[in-house]
């Protein structure tokens, strides 16, 4: 596609509910990143994929957070047993290469609200 697509754009979840957020990167982009952005804050790194390999998941805040990219294209970020502190915008970015050689393109994000 022409850009990075994220869905849903908005998600309201009841506390304790599981959610799945989808990222569809630009076709052919090798690298894919997930970020969590709290209101008024900068994005916080969650995890990084190079093709289907998850090379860095050091930013995932707990074992309730899980990300996958099984075929090296679409990625899903899953949050189990959501809590109020999970409320944030979740951003996805993709890149043709790594280390920013070709720059990164961001999606518009999914705003998750846990009530």
């Amino acid at each position: 596609g022409a850009g990075v697509s994220q869905s849903p754009r908005y998600k309201v979840a009841k506390r304790g509910q599981d959610v799945a957020l989808r990222c569809d990167p630009i076709s052919g982009h090798v690298s894919l990143f997930w970020y969590q952005q709290a209101l008024g804050q900068g994005p916080e790194f969650l995890t990084y994929f190079q093709n289907e390999a998850q090379l860095d998941k050091s930013g995932l805040p707990s074992d309730r957070f899980f990300a996958e990219r099984p075929e090296g294209s679409v990625s899903t970020l899953k949050i189990q047993r959501t809590q109020q502190e999970d409320s944030a915008v979740y951003l996805c970015a993709s890149s043709l290469g790594d280390r920013g050689v070709y720059g990164y393109t961001f999606g518009s994000g999914t705003r998750l609200t846990v009530v």
Partner: protein, 109 residues
Amino acid sequence: AQTVTQSQPEMSVQEAETVTLSCTYDTSESNYYLFWYKQPPSRQMILVIRQEAYKQQNATENRFSVNFQKAAKSFSLKISDSQLGDTAMYFCAFSFMRFGAGTRLTVKP
């Protein structure tokens, strides 16, 4: 550990004037990239400018330029001839996408 620090939470500038946003970072890597991103209220992150650490020449993109001081680990963004559309959050970011906390820039008419 890689850290990115933006010490100016908010700034304002008059339309058509010049403003400089500050960013410092810390890393032990020798080859890396630095970025400035703009995030308007629509929350779409837009790449403003990119600097490769091994290049001594400061990057320039139209009205946007950087002052990259590698030894000081400083990477400031200068916006010339500020326009109302420049109003946004600006984030400094490091290679593997560690972001600073952001600077909210308001351009006043």
